[in-house]
């Protein structure tokens, strides 16, 4: 474990990245914001989430190449690495603007859970389902809610841009599954359903109040009264339903673990 830190080296590498991140400087950084511990923690965690997502799309790009996926899909996955790196910087700057990042212990050697499937196509599908069809698909509605309750022009603008990118990142998953549909048998689909379920269930510890006061939502944070129902709705609508439409069923127990009621309830 190590403290999460970021550096930029500049020079030709900074100039190469500059067009992709120039919009960050246009955000209303001069807005007066109250120092907020909750928001500092959330935006520090956001910076790391984006960093881990960059690693995930780097893995996906390699896996798509190994699976012989369409080259424009591969290029998009590689390009998403840049998106996530820019988001990482953005989140770090928002954390700084709110008073500074908190100490976050991370393990950079374990950023992306490796696929268990040996078959290159199924291995790619595992990565894509976990990252795009679950992670990015959940992110969009949660961040939209965070934006609506942000109460800050800076946070609003920051989240708006992230959401626009994450929508494309989620779409990559559905396009990949549709392309691979003819080569995914029932066993593969059942495996992918379990993969999605595990990724969803991993959020269960975040849900509920856990004996703590339910903080209000603002500055990009969501209190439990807003977060928990939004997460359950997102898991059902943005993940389970579109996966089911492709023959991939998320186990009901995994959905129940995050508050999704059983069908017909």
């Amino acid at each position: 474990m190590q403290a999460f830190e970021l550096t930029a080296i500049g020079g030709p590498w900074g100039r190469r990245l500059a067009p992709r991140r120039a919009w960050i400087d246009e955000l209303p950084w001069d807005e007066a914001l109250p120092p907020c511990v909750d928001a500092r923690q959330v935006w520090t965690a956001t910076a790391f989430s984006e960093y881990a997502s960059a690693a995930a799309f780097a893995e996906i790009a390699a896996a798509l190449l190994a699976a012989g996926a369409p080259i424009d899909l591969v290029a998009a996955a590689g390009d998403f690495v840049v998106d996530e790196i820019v988001h990482t910087e953005l989140a770090a700057r928002v954390a700084a603007r709110l008073g500074g990042a908190v100490t976050l212990e991370v393990d950079l050697a374990r950023l992306v859970r490796p696929p268990v499937a040996a078959d290159p196509l199924l291995a790619a599908a595992e990565l894509v389902v976990r990252t795009s069809c679950v992670g990015e698909a959940l992110t969009v509605p949660i961040l939209k809610l965070s934006r609506r309750l942000a109460g800050s022009a800076l946070v609003d603008a920051a989240i708006a841009t992230i959401v626009a990118d994450e929508s494309h990142h989620a779409q990559l998953g559905w396009w990949f599954l549709d392309w691979a549909a003819d080569r995914l048998d029932d066993d593969a689909r059942a495996h992918l359903g379990a993969v999605a379920g595990g990724a969803i269930r991993a959020f269960a510890p975040m849900l509920g109040e856990g004996g703590r006061a339910c903080a209000p939502s603002h500055l990009g944070t969501l209190g439990c009264a807003d977060y928990d129902p939004a997460f359950a709705a997102a898991a059902e609508r943005a993940v389970a339903r579109p996966l089911a439409a492709r023959g991939i069923v998320v186990p009901a127990a995994d959905l129940a673990a995050v508050g999704v009621p059983p069908p017909g309830a």
Partner: protein, 147 residues
């Protein structure tokens, strides 16, 4: 020597959250700002600098000092360890605190890999009062057989 710029800076802060609406200017806090990322300035050759810095930002300014001695010592008279503990209490769950975790950790799955996506936006503040209340509750709920 390559030029490195700090992007993520770790800061200890004792202040709580301000008003949820921040479109109106808030009083400027007595903070020591750390330049986190100077993107406008052209990179100049420089020695590599530490990538992380810890700065105490809640030190009250002399102008704002009360006439009577404060009941609680200001942060600049507290030990760094105490300030860090107070910051961690805001975030940590009772289970984490009971396990004496010293730092915040990214939310991970059962195998230690980060949860996917960017949905860790839930606010889970835990203040000292709440933590102590939890501890008292746990003590009350313990039965003799647990001891």
């Amino acid at each position: 020597m390559p030029h490195q710029r700090k992007i993520l800076t770790v800061v200890l802060l004792s202040a709580g959250c301000g008003a949820s609406s921040s479109r109106t200017p808030a009083p400027a806090p007595a903070v020591t700002r750390v330049p986190v990322l100077d993107v406008a300035a052209a990179p100049q050759p420089a020695a590599a600098e530490p990538v992380s810095a810890i700065t105490l930002v809640s030190t009250p300014s002399p102008a704002s000092a009360p006439a009577t001695p404060p009941a609680i010592r200001p942060d600049d008279e507290q030990t760094e360890a105490l300030l860090r503990l107070r910051s961690e209490l805001y975030r940590a769950s009772a289970q984490d605190l009971a396990a004496h975790h010293a730092k915040f950790r990214a939310l991970c799955d059962e195998h230690g890999y980060p949860v996917v996506g960017n949905v860790a936006s839930k606010s889970m503040r835990h203040d000292v009062t709440g933590y102590c209340a939890d501890v008292r509750t746990q003590l009350v709920l313990r039965t003799p057989s647990d001891a």
